[in-house]
Amino acid sequence: MDKIAEFRTIVEHPYSYLQKLKDETGKKIVGTVCSYAPEELIFAAGALPVRLFGSDSGIHRADLHLQSYCCSLVRGILEEALSGRLGLLDGMVFPHTCDSIQRLSDVWRLNLVKPFHADVVLPVKLTTPSARQYLLDVLKKFKTDLECGLAQEITEAGLIHAVRIYNAIRVQMMNLYQLRCENPHMINGQDFHTIIRAGMIMEREAFLEDLAAIVSELTKTTSEKKPSHAKRLVLSGSICSHPDIYDAIETAGGVVVGDDLCTGSRYFEGVINENLPPLTAIAQRYAERASCPAKHAGLTNRGEGLLKMVKDCKADGVVFLFLKFCDPHAFDYPYLKEMLDRGKIPSLLLEMEEQTQAGGQLQTRLETFIQIL
């Protein structure tokens, strides 16, 4: 599909896309580092929120600030910034998640002068009324910070519009997930990943339009369902910026039918209630969406969510995809694995660096795993 080819160009060269957009429309670009960044507010301030990832050009400058036992995502993002490649950003937003992102914000604030730098210190627990009240208060404060930082008023109408656009994107994405789950061969993993990544970069209204077109085209073609013997897998973990992992899975005889990834369903899940005041409704979604392990939403909710996903997606197994040195995910792994074991669901753990390529060893491990399913 041409649309996907366009997306691929954008995902591979995000900065040229952003620079061009900026030159042509004067749009402000705001970088974010995590799926808890309240993008709806940035959007309502007339700016484009862009999720940042590290580069694959090696880490040199970031070594002067962050030790080697910091995850490659955080080091990679800092490297991008220090190398000057993020010069086009008009601001940075750091939601509070893990200890590493927390310090990245400090290092950034001290070393990279940006017109606008916001910490959105969200609550860590999401389960109590006072935490939810605080979450709302933080969003209100963030709104004021954005208004000052970007010199742009955020109106009620603007917020309502933002919520509508984001909801529409999420609905379409969930449709796409559903379609893939029913007929995983209709779109290959790389293309699926490309769509997700494009949704973190592109001007959102344009993305929505293209996405809707892709989804409706795919809906038409899914009638020609092909029977398949590929093993159905769910991916669970932090970020996936390894498009080639999908190829590796497919070559090994597997296919991805669902995910619990930060660059995946955790980012898209949950529609904002359009009948509530927008900030209240936005806060509610952040409190209720599938949680990241850096947040507390209960003692076993992530495990239950994963089991449910495996069941709903009729998956044969789970592949955990972690970045090395990622504490929150590494802490949850043993209990998640145990819950899967109890449910007789096989799983495989792959620990990677953001910059690693899916190589031979990984291929072999995937093949061995998929064979036993």
Binding site: V124, T128, Y134, F331, E351
Partner: protein, 426 residues
């Protein structure tokens, strides 16, 4: 006393005696650290018999509300330090790895999680908790760690969420933490099925404040030249301000310790014979190597006169208002050393450099503790720029001995001391 309890006391005795030899002190009017810790741990171990409740709590968590209700607070991190000091860390960490916990995780957490399942370690495991109290003012690790233990022991978990203060303490955060202090009190009432005793809390709050003031005063004595104590002594004497903060015992102990240090100052006694160079230490001690390191530095006539770690238990005193203990407690617990921005940490480091008049700065880049270690390189740069003193960063781990490369670190310390000696000549 049952047999497992007496076994435990024996091992504790061995452990403390081994540790105590170098650093312990006898006082006229207060028991020794060993005696206090024996009483503390044996009371905790026999809580089931005496009907007292046991709460596991994070080292930076507000312990006063527990003490006021006669709940015995237990600190898995203190236990982690004991595991490290008794060189049992590597074994327990391996056990945790076998359980599926990555070896990149905090080694306090790893060794404690492993220890709970086998009742291993230097004191045969910690007494089972009736409740868990996790305050994330030190890191996100404790949240995950306490979730693990809450699932394992199946007991209630209270999370005191203290929003990180990158650049200040926001109004929203203040309201949120204050509200949680009330929730904390309710949690205690519910778990103990007893009405809360606010009068007792006032007294405990007062003792806690007094203890912190005394601890700060003890640390301050090292500003004297030559220093009557070193950071290594502080690592040892710290145990009470962590575990028994808010009790009369801690206050008595630190009163005695303070007068001992003052006496040493008056008589010009230095802890490092021939103290010539004074250093500041950053980050958690390398527990299995404290003795080696103290001897290593002493062999260069260098004394680590202060550190950023032990002072963390009195660093937020400025926010405490004794007449409004509950209100000010929210702020004091939120603005502790690890819960603030790197620039504010650097400011505190520079204040310490000036106060203790140090010649060099040693940073332990601690693989276990990410919030403490990330940002150190920037702090180092700020210190070099603002004060121009030599800095040394050594990479190790506070518990897991496998990350310690003795020959390499020894060479680097020698080289660092050469630089300091050169500079002092001029």
């Amino acid at each position: 006393m049952n047999s497992s309890n007496s076994d435990f006391l024996k091992t504790l005795g061995i452990y403390l005696f081994g540790q105590a030899k170098k650093f312990s002190l006898r006082f006229k009017k207060a028991p020794t650290m060993k005696e206090l810790m024996m009483v503390y741990y044996s009371e905790a171990k026999s809580a089931k018999l005496t009907g007292k409740k046991v709460a596991w709590i994070t080292s930076g968590g507000p312990v006063e509300p527990l003490i006021a209700m006669d709940i015995i607070p237990i600190y898995p991190e203190n236990h982690g330090a004991m595991i490290g000091a008794s060189k049992m860390g590597a074994g327990l960490c391996e056990k945790a790895e076998a359980m599926g916990y990555s070896n990149d995780l905090c080694s306090y957490a790893r060794s404690d999680i492993a220890c709970a399942t086998v009742n291993g370690g230097p004191i045969g495991g910690l007494p089972r908790p009736d409740m868990l109290v996790c305050c994330n003012n030190i890191c996100g690790t404790v949240l995950k760690w306490y979730e693990v233990q809450a699932r394992y022991f199946n007991v209630p978990l209270f999370i005191l969420d203290t929003p990180f203060c990158h650049t200040g303490y926001s109004e929203e955060a203040a309201r949120y933490v204050r509200a949680q202090i009330d929730e904390y009190i309710l949690f205690i009432e519910e778990t103990c099925k007893k009405k809360y005793d606010f009068e007792r809390l006032r007294q405990v709050g007062h003792l806690s404040y007094e203890g912190q003031q005394l601890w700060q005063a003890v640390l301050d004595t090292a500003a004297h030249r030559p220093a009557p104590m070193s950071a290594f002594d502080a690592f040892y004497h710290l145990a009470l301000i962590v575990t028994l903060r808010g009790t009369k015992e801690a206050v008595n102990y630190y009163q005695q310790l303070l007068s001992t240090m003052k006496d040493r100052v008056a008589r010009g006694i230095s802890v490092v014979p021939n103290e010539k160079y004074r250093l500041l230490w950053d980050n958690i001690p390398i527990w299995p190597r404290t003795r080696w390191l103290s001897q290593k530095f002493a062999s260069h006539n260098a004394c680590l006169v202060a550190d950023t770690y032990t002072s963390a238990w009195c660093g937020a005193m400025k926010y405490i208002d004794e007449s409004k203990f509950l209100d000010s407690m929210a702020e004091a617990y939120t603005r502790i050393y690890l819960n603030i921005g790197v620039d504010e940490m650097a400011k505190m480091v520079i204040e310490m450099i000036d106060k203790y008049d140090v010649d060099g700065f040693v940073l332990h880049s601690n693989r276990s503790c990410k919030p403490y270690s990330f940002g150190q390189l920037d702090i180092q740069r700020i210190v070099e720029k603002e004060r121009g003193i030599p800095c040394l960063m050594i990479e190790a781990d506070m518990v897991d001995d496998r990350s310690f490369s003795e020959s390499q670190i020894s060479t680097r310390i020698d080289a660092f001391m050469e630089i300091i000696k050169e500079r002092k000549k001029i």
